[in-house]
């Protein structure tokens, strides 16, 4: 622990957020019609703290859906390229859910690593993550089955727990501690700590357990060629909404946008659920049908990423469960595969 936990009375939250807004961009849950979205806020009164989760995941702040990598101006026998300058201003992801904070850890592994991605690294270095524990998880949530928890502080710089009239704040990093300089906090007392532990236990206990009987990764390797994938993929429309809303999905495309010889090389989100994702110029496609693409998504999340990055590509946020237009449920897929429900 970097420093001792603090508490913040709820009527002082706006003062804290105003301090943050003075020097930083603040992204926070905000009501938009009947949705709650994570957005850059102009006014602290827009921030909502009583919500289940934001419709989209916060990954877009660090990995935008469309991002300019460089501009180019080409001519006969010459080309000039310029990379947009990085920003200086700090930013805070405020009030995101623990699952989404944990999802950022996977992005960190993918975009960091041996060949660091400068666009991601620039934004990540300027970002402080403040998460808010889930006291009443949604029935579609299953964070505990993927290694997280409704009140886990993993991936956060500060972690807020709602105690009713005040928040308990756990300090997880120096970056987080630096935000607590405003004179609005108190040291956490025994009562606050005890209440926080009780709420955490209740939140965890309220989640329907999703216990996999066997090692899912091992089963996936054994079942790669099983006809069961055809059954599972039968209703999938290949729309890709699961990948767009997923806090850990990070596949992208690179393309040129512009008129003629001047324009921008851009990066845009892409999806393994789309047929063109792997189609080669010759016309050959190693994943020609929905079956192979559905299998790739599950294998990538629960076999390949645990092997290469040490964590699954799923944090149990439940967005793909609630938003799938044909009600495919990744939890049922996990259970079915782990139990070895095969057709062969």
């Amino acid at each position: 622990m970097i420093s001792l936990p603090r508490t913040l009375k709820k009527d002082r939250l706006e003062r804290f957020l105003e301090r943050l807004l003075e020097e930083r961009d603040v992204f926070a849950p905000k009501r938009r019609d009947d949705l709650v979205m994570l957005e850059k806020i102009d006014s602290v009164s827009d921030v909502v703290m009583d919500y289940e989760n934001t419709k989209a995941s916060p990954k877009f702040v660090l990995f935008p859906q469309r991002e300019t990598l460089f501009g180019y101006r080409a001519g006969k026998g010459r080309v000039e390229m310029d990379v947009p300058p990085g920003k200086e201003k700090g930013q805070v992801l405020f009030g995101i859910r623990p699952c989404d904070a944990r999802g950022l850890l996977l992005l960190e592994k993918v975009f960091g690593g041996d060949c660091s991605d400068p666009y991601y690294a620039d934004k990540r270095a300027r970002t402080v993550v403040v998460s808010l524990g889930c006291v009443d998880p949604n029935p579609a949530c299953f964070c505990r089955a993927t290694g997280g928890g409704p009140c886990s502080s993993e991936g956060s710089d500060l972690f807020f727990m709602d105690l009713g009239d005040r928040y308990l704040i756990e300090v997880e990093s120096e970056k987080g501690a630096a935000l607590l300089e405003a004179p609005v906090f108190d040291d956490a007392d025994e009562e606050a700590l005890a209440l926080s532990a009780k709420i955490r236990n209740q939140a965890e206990a309220s989640m329907k357990p999703l216990v996999l009987k066997k090692d899912l990764k091992g089963q996936l390797e054994r079942l790669f060629d099983d006809p069961v994938w055809s059954d599972m993929a039968e209703t999938c429309l290949g729309c890709g909404i699961c990948t767009y809303l997923c806090p850990t999905c990070h596949c992208f495309d690179l393309c040129d946008e512009g008129a003629g010889l001047s324009g921008e090389r851009i990066r845009v989100w892409d999806s393994c659920q789309f047929p063109l994702f792997t189609q080669q110029a010759s016309g050959f496609n190693p994943r020609p049908t929905v079956k192979e693409r559905f299998r790739q998504r599950i294998m990538h999340k629960f076999s390949y990423l645990p092997e290469t990055q040490g964590m699954p590509g799923c944090v149990g946020c439940g967005r793909c469960v609630t938003e799938c237009p044909v009600n495919l449920d990744i939890r049922e897929v996990m259970i079915s595969l782990a139990e070895g429900n095969t057709r062969s």
Binding site: L69, F70, Y72, A74, K76, G77, R78, V79, M81, V83, V110, F111, G113, C115, S116, D117, P118, Y119, E221, F224, D225, H250, C251, F252, D253, L254, C255, D256, G258, G260, L261, S262, G263, R265, R267, D270, C272, F277, T278, Q279, Q280, A281, S282, F284, P286, Q296, M299, H300, S303, Y304, E307, T308
Partner: protein
């Protein structure tokens, strides 16, 4: 650290039409920034992403040899948007290049061993790079017997004719050309690559086989190598997948848990057998 997404400019110095149907051209490029050229070090088997500004990027294996520094060569088959635009380009024009990408052939492992290179069609470009590297006077002594088998559908589709003639003149490489169909007074061998492999490949002891070509050629060549006694660890393949970033991030070129762009494109058959069935479907 250098931004891995920004290409460096290279000028088109030469364009060679390789095949009689004119669908494959080799582009020889020079570095616009000479210092960039001096820093650029690569291994045969690696690849690069070539940008045609306004059209996008596509990956190509290096067809040149690092023993001739300052220039890179890429053979381009006219198939899609980027390759179509490249085929329209002329000498003096500038493209972008990002690389070198991928792992390349394990040159250290090959040292002191006998080698057989088995290539077919367009897949021969990285084997041309490897052949010219090994045949360079500063390298040839480090490797044992050297056999190159190269097949095409017909004589007019064989690439790198000048190189092939030069290699045929040499005594230190055993070159076997073959075509599926002979024509135009073709005096050479007619037959399929796997059959040629069966009759001319070296003994498997202390030998490596390097295979690059179309899926059907690979499919029928692997059992021949096995039958000859080559172990899975001594057979090297160069895989092809649609690639974009080239640095293991964009997520599209995986075969099982490996990314072809950053873990490969060169894998041993033993490594591929450990991956999921996708690798050997």
């Amino acid at each position: 650290m250098k931004n891995p997404y920004v290409p460096f400019p290279m000028r088109i110095e030469e364009i060679l039409v390789e095949t009689e149907d004119e669908t494959i051209k080799t582009f020889e490029l020079s570095f616009v920034d000479k210092e960039e050229g001096e820093r650029f070090a690569y291994t045969p088997g690696q690849f690069a992403e070539i940008s045609v500004f306004g059209k996008g990027e596509a990956p190509f294996g290096m067809a040149s040899t690092p023993t001739l520094p300052g220039r890179l060569a890429f053979s381009v088959s006219r198939i899609g948007v980027v390759t179509g635009a490249l085929h329209q380009m002329e000498r003096g024009e500038v493209v972008g290049v990002r690389g070198p990408l991928g792992n390349g052939y394990p040159l250290e492992t090959f040292k002191g061993r006998n080698l057989v290179l088995i290539g077919g069609g367009f897949g021969f470009s990285t084997l041309r790079s490897l052949t010219n590297f090994i045949l360079h006077e500063s390298n040839r002594g480090a490797y044992g017997n050297f056999t190159v088998i190269y097949g095409a559908r017909k004589p007019g589709l064989l690439l790198y004719k000048k190189d092939l003639e030069a290699w045929q003149e040499r005594g230190d490489v055993d070159l076997h050309l073959t075509v599926d169909q002979g024509e135009n007074g073709w005096q050479g061998h007619v037959g399929f690559v796997p059959d040629v492999t069966r009759s001319v490949a070296p003994a498997p002891k202390d030998a490596y086989a390097v295979v690059c070509g179309p899926p059907a050629m690979i499919h029928f060549t692997l059992p021949v190598l096995k039958e000859l006694g080559f172990g899975d660890g001594n057979i090297l393949l160069s895989l092809e997948m649609r690639m974009k970033c080239g640095i293991g991030k964009c997520g599209r070129c995986n075969v099982g848990s490996k990314y072809v762009c950053s873990d490969g494109p060169v894998f041993s058959q033993a490594e591929l057998l450990r991956l999921t069935a996708e690798a050997h479907g």
